[in-house]
Symmetry: C2
Subunit: 126 residues, 2 copies
């Protein structure tokens, strides 16, 4: 039986139950603190690092200077509001057949891609 690990458990629970996408460590920490009362940044960091090592989470970089984590599932892209920073999921992969073209153009063996759209969300665009 594993030892109690409230912080790690709460981080896991957040990813399992919440609909949120692309959690930053700070966002996770805020949520964990509201549940547990207290927690340290490094503990949350170690939790997501563990899950990333286990292959449960993917680390993504949206270009806003902070790492974000989300459950590893079907590939998709992201869209981030350039005004408020809100991040949502683009539920399709628009590049599935572009890789061959990229290979032809560059000679690289394409193994991954990462797309981030920028824009204004419904609230900010109004």
């Amino acid at each position: 039986m594993p030892r109690p690990s409230p912080v790690t458990d709460e981080v896991r629970r957040l990813f399992e139950t919440q609909e949120r996408h692309a959690w930053s460590i700070d966002e996770l920490l805020t949520s964990v603190r509201s549940s547990l009362g207290a927690a340290d940044y490094s503990s949350v960091f170690r939790a997501v690092s563990l899950f990333e090592r286990e292959g449960v989470l993917d680390r993504i970089d949206l270009g806003d200077g902070r790492a974000r984590f989300e459950v590893r599932d079907d590939h998709h892209e992201h869209i981030r509001c350039e005004r408020c920073g809100r991040v949502e999921e683009v539920p399709v992969c628009v590049l599935d057949d572009a890789s061959a073209q990229v290979h032809n153009l560059t000679g690289f063996k394409v193994t991954s891609h990462r797309v981030v759209f920028g824009g204004l969300c419904r609230e900010c665009g109004a």
Copy 2:
């Protein structure tokens, strides 16, 4: 007549004459030092910041933790070797007509996008 500004001039010269894409500040600094003998990181930083403000350079983020700069020109995507970090240009935009689809799917007003392919360059893939 402007004052002498060897560092700024040399950074400008690198962008004007070199074929390299997506310079990081450290890469610029190394190159400037090999030409001028000595230069400071902050001077190179201020040069690229100036050029970015002037609209001559674009800052891009390839997800490797360092800012990169390149001459503002026709929009294109990037591909980065996941092993050696080499960055090359993908001389097409594979997303020109995907924005409307993204808008329909998310409701965001799409104003930009950023694509980074990952892969293995010809040397590393062998």
